[in-house]
Symmetry: C2
Subunit: 288 residues, 2 copies
């Protein structure tokens, strides 16, 4: 089986590792915008061969793991080109635009839109991990529009990797994911910005930043190549969610200014319920 | 040597563990607002005896590990009461108010203001950890006002625990710590609030929240009993820092609204430098 990976970075590289472990007789072909990273993914053994444009027709599976704006541009051409039994999957963090893009394509049945809830703040092939997808949620959109035999193959592979499958409408996906991922990134970026602007005496940061700061600001290391296209594609949801976040911060500040400490206490007690939600996440994952 | 711990929670309990390991012939006395937690700290062997009010005079060392508002209230009475060779230390997250509170006290030399940059989002004696302070920064304020023999004893103990000592002016401490700790907590609380308000369909949160969300929102589990008094005491610094954070978020939203994606990209590239700062933190700690 020939698997072509377009974008051999954190996600594409980790997919390569998971594919090699679970798909027999596999040959992995890869392409990448950065030629240096492509060479690295060959050196690391993530891929076996370079994927040239002329080879697309020979691929059985194509995994699209590139920034969401470029994925949107390339998908239609790829669908046009692939052979009649190939499956193309994308792994981007937004799902509405890409599903809409190919809604009327004659080969719509050969596409599956997915979003693995997995990643780190690092990028590039060297960041790939063999167990990145283990015990993680894999969201599948519009499965009814994918050809049943191709869908079954994909579901089977994701289960073998150890993922928990969940189906979701692409528009709902983009709304939900704004709250639990996109907003986290923005709050983290802006936290990093605020601290870096203010703390000219950097050694004070070094000495005083503890694990709380590190974990809150971790996502601020994430690459803009991946994230700006996500913010662009999910702009409407993000604008709404961000307004709410800013409102809550303003409200907090007003309570502080007005010395309403009892109200702050009450509010935080309620927020502490996030503990159950987070434990729910862990438990759910452990139980599945 | 008799050590009295007022507040046997995460910090007090971990101090008890570190004291027992490094101070010979130690007897640990503890008191706690919650009697249930006091009993638990006896059951866990964190402390040996209950610390009654009448025993304060017998203590050689008193560790004050309670919310910063109560610490402020109790410190003067404690200083009045202790014997002439005892040392009292506090471990709160704000330092200006407590230093000011005892500035003119006749026994000022028997007090040392500290802030260990260590903790977790959990509280209570069961959250205590034997290695909580290992390789962490311990900030000491106004060391020149502490009696040299008592200061030396304290510094020696903290070094034995594995802490990296750093001296800092209390007013500067409160400014710096706002950026790398207090603001992180507020951004995390408000992130938790925003998500909980919006996501009525909780199962979507369960399935879609990944490690990025968990780490950004982790601090939202922190207790208001500890944090509201900190926000109150450090109100001025927090108000200023929070305004800056909100400005940055508004600016981000404006760039998004105006489709200025190149500017967003540029801004995030710059923020990515936080990577070096965070690596600096790790390296510094590993090297010391």
């Amino acid at each position: 089986m020939k698997v072509g990976i377009i974008g051999v970075g954190l996600i594409g590289g980790s997919l390569a590792l998971s594919a090699r472990e679970h798909i027999p007789d596999i040959e992995i072909y890869g392409s990448n915008r950065s030629q240096a990273n492509l060479q690295k993914s060959l050196d690391l053994g993530l891929i076996d061969f370079r994927l040239e444009e002329t080879m697309i027709k020979q691929m059985d599976i194509i995994l699209l793991a590139i920034p969401v704006d470029i994925a949107l541009e390339r998908l239609v051409d790829l669908l046009d080109e692939v052979n009649d039994n190939a499956l193309i999957m994308d792994f981007g963090s937004t799902k509405a635009a890409i599903c809409q893009q190919v809604a009327l394509h004659s080969k719509r049945g050969q596409f599956l839109a997915t979003h693995p809830i997995a990643g780190t703040e690092y990028s590039g092939p060297a960041a790939a991990l063999p167990d990145l997808f283990e015990d993680k949620t894999q969201i599948l959109c519009e499965t009814q529009k994918t050809r049943p035999d191709l869908l079954e193959w994909a579901q089977d592979w994701f289960k073998k990797i150890g993922m928990n499958l969940r189906e979701m409408d692409p528009v709902e996906h983009d709304q939900h994911i704004t709250y639990v991922s996109h907003l986290s990134h923005i709050s983290s970026y802006m936290l990093g910005k605020t601290v870096m602007e203010k703390e000219k005496d950097q050694s004070a940061i070094f000495d005083m930043a503890g694990s709380g700061f590190s974990s809150t600001v971790r996502l601020a290391k994430s690459s803009p190549h991946m994230w700006v296209p996500i913010f662009k594609q999910n702009k409407e949801n993000i604008t709404e969610t961000l307004s709410q976040y800013i409102n809550n911060l303003n409200q907090f500040k007003q309570l502080l200014d007005a010395n309403q400490f009892d109200k702050l206490h009450e509010q935080i007690l309620e927020i502490n319920n996030i503990r159950q939600i987070l434990e729910g996440i862990t438990n759910t994952k452990n139980n599945q």
